[in-house]
């Protein structure tokens, strides 16, 4: 096999109409390890994923959106990021799927079918922001390990299901209960069928919020397999890893849940801030709870060129974990001055908020539009990457797009 053949991935070759290596101008000059951009774009994505989504990893699947793909008020399923830790179950059957609620602080452990959940409890729908704790990881310096998310591991879909608290109360919650953990039907990458992939959770207080759901529908349709079909938890405003997919067991705990990826450095940041690159011992790492205030500029797509004198209408979303966003500002002069945007209230608690603005540029040139949200506690997004942490969580630095005025 020639060196150049290496760049031709089998799938890429087939669907790009078999570009032969000899047809790539200067192909022989490509350094080892580089893929042709044309072939990179022709990536193999799971069914139902927008072709513009960015593939980070295919075993397990980790796929993120680009900012302009997230312009919808309610994120469509094909533009919703995928963060899998293991391998999703094969052909799960919603008719036979069971959810067991147990644990040392459950009064009367019970098992429900999805039909039981639908008939026994009242159904609710909420639009909830789910953001990966590691969204923005790729900006940390020194680099942090893991999937190198940029800005697109966030989404706000409409979720339908029953309240987690209604189900927990039906089972009975003992007085000593403090934490609620989940287990799912995915399989560990090392193929051991008995090894738990990930089992995280939330304190009982968060689990008892109205918006904490056991959901079977996303945007009024079955949840796609990659997003947890046929049943999942949805915990808005907290790291996405608390929203367990392929949900088949919930445990009511009398101590902090201790499933895989609850401990160590997983989904934790230093309890006290540290200089970049520090080693932090496990006992000095604290669990991430609410995600920080953040925003995205979803229109226009970065790189827009406009004529001088045109007023540019821009828009995006802002969110703040457990809190609401109270102020949205944009800057076109690298943060020297800020313009306040129109900001809508969330449709419901823990949904993101639409913001819009009209911008006039003073003269021709290169501009960056920076977007900064502030939450109800007066906390704003930083302009540079915030506190370094070993696993690269919680980067809520302002989103930036490039504009040229010609």
């Amino acid at each position: 096999m020639s060196d150049r053949r290496k760049f031709m991935k089998k799938a890429g070759l087939a669907s790009l109409g078999a570009i032969a290596a000899s047809e790539v101008v200067f192909g022989k000059n490509l350094p080892d390890g580089l893929e042709l951009i044309g072939l990179q774009q022709d990536q193999d994505l799971p069914q139902g994923v927008d072709p513009e989504m960015t593939l980070l990893n295919d075993l397990p699947w980790n796929i993120e959106a680009k900012a302009h793909l997230l312009d919808d008020a309610i994120t469509p399923a094909d533009k919703f990021f995928i963060r899998n830790n293991g391998i999703p179950p094969v052909n799960p059957d919603p008719e036979t799927w069971q959810l067991t609620i147990e644990g040392e602080s459950a009064e009367n452990p019970k098992t429900y079918s999805i039909a039981d959940l639908k008939s026994k409890f009242k159904t609710y729908s909420y639009q909830l922001v789910v953001e990966c704790g590691g969204n923005g990881r790729n900006e940390f310096n020194p680099p942090a390990k893991g999937n190198q998310w940029s800005i697109g591991a966030v989404a706000c879909a409409k979720w339908t299901g029953v309240r987690l608290k209604d189900v927990l109360e039906d089972v009975g919650i003992k007085d000593d209960a403090v934490y609620v953990g989940y287990y799912g039907g995915d399989t560990h990458l090392n193929k051991d069928p008995n090894k738990v992939v990930i089992s995280r959770g939330v304190p009982l207080k968060k689990a008892m919020e109205d918006e904490a759901l056991i959901a079977w529908a996303m945007n009024d349709e079955d949840i796609p397999l990659m997003h947890g079909y046929p049943l999942r938890m949805v915990i808005g405003g907290w790291p996405g890893s608390t929203s367990g997919k392929w949900l088949n067991r919930i445990v009511i705990r009398n101590k902090e849940h201790d499933g895989p990826k609850m401990g160590g450095t997983s989904y934790r940041v230093p309890c006290e801030s540290v200089p970049p690159g520090s080693k932090v011992t496990d006992d000095n790492m604290c669990i991430i709870e609410s995600m920080p205030v953040k925003s995205l500029l979803t229109y226009p797509k970065s790189g827009a060129m406009i004529k001088e004198g045109r007023t540019l209408e821009i828009r995006g979303h802002a969110w703040a974990g457990d809190y609401s966003v109270s102020k949205m500002e944009v800057s076109i002069d690298f943060g020297s001055t800020w313009q306040t945007c129109e900001l809508q209230n969330p449709v419901n608690r823990l949904a993101w908020q639409r913001w819009t603005a009209k911008i006039d540029f003073p003269q021709k040139g290169y501009y960056e539009v920076w977007a900064k949200a502030s939450d109800e506690n007066g906390i704003s997004q930083p302009m540079v990457v915030p506190g370094w942490n070993p696993k690269g969580y919680l980067n809520n630095a302002c989103h930036r797009i490039a504009i040229k005025v010609l």
Binding site: L56, P60, P142, Q148
Partner: protein
């Protein structure tokens, strides 16, 4: 007796369910992932060791999108051994670490990089 029968039945059903749980990733798929990795990973003495030991569980993309010092890669391997079921690498570990540290070394990015790779386009009205 009835309880015992039910328990036995339950045991058989659960036992079979575990036994028959289909492997979600086939040997063929793993072989494909490994071939893809061979085609993409930079040449080096330990390339085949990386393919065999790393791509057995996860895509090479989890390697190539990361960068770290030798010490950083070592701690990643240790984490996979402690929590993810990675086997002991023996003498291969040193070779793998040399390879990863050489080809996937960190570059200092400062506190915020300029906007790069902007695809310019004319914005319609």
């Amino acid at each position: 007796m009835r309880i015992f029968t039910l328990a036995l039945l339950g045991w058989i059903v659960i036992g079979c369910a575990i036994k028959e749980k289909p492997s979600p990733v086939t040997e063929k798929q793993i072989a494909d992932f490994k071939n893809e990795a061979r085609a993409v990973l930079p040449e080096g003495q330990a390339k085949e060791l990386v393919v065999d030991n790393c791509v057995h569980c996860h895509s090479y993309k989890l390697v190539t999108q990361n960068s770290a010092t030798r010490e950083g890669w070592q701690s990643t391997i240790a984490w996979m051994q402690e929590t993810q079921g990675l086997w002991p690498l023996g003498p291969a570990e040193d070779e793998i670490l040399d390879y990863l540290a050489e080809h996937f070394a960190p570059e200092s990015k400062g506190r915020r990089v300029p906007l790069t790779d902007v695809e310019w386009y004319e914005l319609g009205e």
